[in-house]
């Protein structure tokens, strides 16, 4: 490994804000030639924003990116590519309808007389690029006929064809099987040995430990630390990522034990029996009591959100069943789930939540409306009452119930969506990242709301990447890892350190 004085890539003091949200503040790190450098952090830590600033998708407000000691400020991914920074994404950004050959060389082919493309030269160059990966892929094969793993290698070859010195691999292993991962790692090692610097992003900690020379942790848009992989324990790394010294974590102690005890003694609201689907979650068992709040904890990609989607039924399960109050519920039909009273406040507010051009009032009453059926309209008085009640109760900042929801800030949109579900009178409410993108004040309000809803007997399943939030809100926590439930914590035993220990220690 070379230890040159000038690092291959030097990122210093990156700052980027989107509207009122400070996505990055003062992020700096260095990438050496011939190293694999992992970039770590939970959702919203700023990994992808950092990458996008380096590759010219976003332009930072301040801060610099230096390549081989020369400052670069790419205005597009194309410019970044030309200056020597190649990127390979989890979802391959290539052309599925064209051949492997074209995907490697298109945009850089030579032409002769009559604009005729010199395919011979193109083929030679594509072969050379694949050769650097020690791969032999049929150049004429249509890209879409290849498995994702191969497509990624093609993307790598495209990056190498322009002589990239820096390669960014953004979640490259997320949709690969074991053998494919092994092959990718082999190629990564090969490239490292050739002196290429690789920035590696993944949420699989095992892979981080296995592949990285060094790792940089980001949290809430800030640079936390860069560490050498050698001699680092998982526990320490998790601590960096999650940002707490867990030993100090307080618990509500005995009071919480009493509540947990009380809830455990109540009637069963929802019984989930061996619910599962391949690639989502293996056989989930869950008994949810009236008024109980159960958290699903685990790192990104552990299967938390998948659980929520299966219970609500936006994804179809291949096995298992659901019972609400002892009555079988049809799985896989969201409208049915809502009619029965199982509702999901999705983590993806924009795609799966809001109706941007509809009003705040309409966004709030729509679930109630679809629960009642189209021919049984919620009267205007009732709608106004709902809107007024929740705007007041949740202190939603809006010019009024008739404002379009897209005009509201993210946090206020989130509150409107919570109001949507509460107005529909759920029996079981699944909250997936209910406080994402919300300021601290509103966060506390939502936590308080969860507590009082629980006192009113509403059963909830909660998912949050802010572990302390689950610690504060939940009576019971299921810990997930690799799409399996690997442990359970109850009452005062729920602490961040306990959760982290379970995630880290397992196997």
């Amino acid at each position: 490994m070379s230890k040159d004085a000038t690092p291959l890539l030097k990122v210093s003091g990156l700052c980027k804000r989107f509207g009122s949200v400070q996505a990055l503040s003062d992020v700096s790190f260095e990438l050496r030639a011939g190293e694999i450098h992992s970039l770590l952090g939970e959702n919203g830590a700023g990994k992808s924003t950092t990458i996008k600033c380096i590759t010219g998708v976003h332009r930072p407000e301040s801060g610099t990116v230096e390549l081989n000691g020369r400052e670069i400020a790419p205005r597009s991914p194309r410019e970044a590519e030309l200056s020597g920074i190649g990127t390979v994404y989890q979802e391959v950004n290539l052309l599925p309808n064209l051949s492997v050959l074209e995907n490697i060389v298109l945009g850089r082919v030579k032409t002769g007389a009559l604009g005729r493309i010199d395919w011979k030269d193109a083929r030679r160059r594509a072969k050379a690029a694949l050769g650097k990966l020690e791969m032999d892929i049929d150049l004429e094969a249509r890209l879409s006929s290849l498995p994702v793993a191969m497509q990624q290698l093609v993307a790598l070859a495209r990056a190498l064809e322009v002589d990239s010195k820096v390669l960014i691999l953004d979640e490259p292993t997320a949709s690969l099987d074991e053998a494919e991962v092994e092959n990718l790692f082999r190629v990564m090692n090969l490239l490292r040995d050739k002196g290429i610097g690789i920035i590696f992003i993944t949420h699989f900690l095992d892979q981080v430990f296995r592949m990285s020379d060094r790792m940089t942790v980001l949290r809430n848009g800030r640079y936390i630390v860069t560490r050498d992989a050698k001699g680092l324990s998982k526990q320490d790394l998790l601590q960096d990522m999650l940002g707490k010294a867990f030993e100090e974590m307080q618990s509500r102690g005995a009071a919480l034990d009493a509540i947990a005890e009380d809830r455990a003694g109540r009637a069963t609201q929802l019984q989930v029996r061996s619910l599962g689907a391949p690639g989502k979650i293996d056989s989930l068992e869950l008994e949810l009591r009236e008024g109980e709040v159960v958290g699903l904890a685990g790192l990104l990609g552990s299967g938390r959100t998948e659980c929520a989607r299966l219970i609500f039924g936006v994804d179809k399960a291949t096995a298992g069943s659901l019972e609400l109050k002892g009555k079988q519920v049809k799985q896989g039909v969201p409208s049915e789930s809502i009619r029965e009273g199982i509702m999901l406040a999705s983590e993806d507010r924009k795609a799966e939540g809001i109706f941007p051009h509809l009003t705040v009032r309409e966004n709030m009453m729509i679930a109630l409306q679809s629960r009642r059926g189209a021919l049984n309209p919620v009267s205007r008085e009732e709608q106004d009452a709902i809107a007024e009640k929740y705007i007041k109760a949740m202190r939603i900042k809006t010019s009024g119930p008739e404002a379009k929801i897209k005009e509201l800030s993210g946090g206020n949109q989130q509150k409107v969506l919570l109001a949507r579900w509460l107005a529909a009178e759920p029996k079981v409410l699944i909250l997936d990242e209910p406080t994402r993108g919300i300021d601290i004040g509103a966060r506390a309000e939502i936590e308080k709301l969860i507590e009082s809803l629980s006192e009113d007997g509403l059963s909830m399943i909660m998912i949050s990447s802010e572990m302390d939030e689950e610690v504060r809100c939940c009576h019971r926590v299921l810990v997930l890892r690799d799409r399996k439930v690997i442990g359970e914590l109850r009452g005062s035993a729920i602490t961040e350190s306990a959760i982290v220990r379970k995630i880290a220690d397992h196997e």
Partner: protein, 318 residues
């Protein structure tokens, strides 16, 4: 590579065309002849050129509804220039082609610069060209011109009683040109790239906007060209010609295996699609029992079959 529908949707088109032709050959005396085959090309020359242009548009994931009207406009423009304005034929043709290209490029620019749906812009183009045709003349203008007669007189004998006329030759040459354009030039490959995934194409640094404008300009050229071929075929210009031609062209393209979702397909398929169209038409001519109405229904049935197959294949892949 395995020969399967998935690897090459062209096989389906070839199958349909071959079986239609075979059944017709056995059913009708005199169907299986070079003369009939040569006539397939002659009769479908202007549809062929139109469909080749539409192929390029659809490959880029666009649509152009204006082609029928542009054809009608071109026929009357050419007839007017040659007959009433006394312009020489080559100049008149040149003017018509330039107008077609400019018109297409203007629509393309609106689509690209203002990010408007191609569907609506070309719908506007349809109305515009349709009306402008009537501005030139509201009735048919016959073309009496020596040059025209000479061009119409060009024929190549390909067999006993079988001739390829000027229109058919132009169609075949243009097909070869499109084949080259799509397979061997940057523009052609970029059209596929844009149709495959516009965002990726942009990330890969391809000149997406220029390609898209070029596509509509090229299609404007094709429509004007088809209009000129129509004047050769009919010996007159009429603003009413070409009504509904966009539908026939789209149908021929889809039957030829080009996916309406863009990026997959090509000129060869379209040639086969156009010939399928022509074979059905010829069968209807041979057999008095079928009413002309069956042409549309048969085409629609084929269209339905192909779209459902494409959809099923796409879903199988997901």
């Amino acid at each position: 590579m395995k020969i399967s529908l998935r690897s090459n949707p062209l096989y389906a088109t070839i199958g349909v065309l071959a079986s239609l032709f075979a059944v017709a050959s056995f059913s009708y005396e005199g169907f299986f002849s070079l003369r009939v085959i040569a006539n397939l090309f002659t009769d479908s020359s202007f549809l062929g050129v139109t469909a080749l242009g539409m192929t390029v548009v659809i490959l880029s994931k666009g649509i152009d509804l204006s082609v029928g009207s542009v054809i009608g406009f071109t026929t009357i423009l050419v007839a007017y220039l040659v007959q009433d304005a006394g312009v020489s034929v080559p100049v008149a043709w040149g003017i018509a082609l330039v107008v077609g290209v400019l018109f297409g490029a203007a629509m393309g620019a609106l689509i690209v610069v203002y990010d408007l749906p191609s569907f609506l812009v070309t719908l506007g183009g349809l109305f515009f060209a349709k009306g402008m045709g009537f501005v030139i003349s509201s009735s048919s203008i016959g073309i009496q011109n020596e040059f025209y007669d000479a061009v119409v007189g060009i024929q190549i004998q390909v067999g006993p009683g079988a001739y390829l006329g000027a229109g058919a030759l132009a169609f075949i040459l243009f097909f070869v040109f499109c084949l080259y354009l799509l397979k061997w030039t940057r523009f052609g490959r970029y059209v596929y790239a844009v149709g495959g995934n516009e965002d990726s194409a942009r990330l890969m640094g391809l000149p997406v906007d220029r390609v898209k404008i070029g596509v509509y300009a090229f299609n404007g050229f094709c429509s004007a060209f088809a209009g000129i071929l129509t004047t050769l075929y009919m010996g007159s210009g009429n603003p009413l010609t070409g009504v509904g031609m966009e539908l026939d062209a789209i149908a021929a393209v889809v039957i030829g295996g080009t996916l309406l979702t863009g990026g997959i397909g090509g000129a060869t398929g379209t040639l086969l699609g156009v010939l399928t169209f022509a074979v059905i038409q010829t069968i209807l001519n041979f057999d008095g029992r079928f009413k002309p109405a069956f042409l549309r229904i048969a085409i629609a049935a084929l269209l339905l079959g192909f779209i459902l197959t494409q959809r099923a294949l796409a879903r199988g892949k997901e």
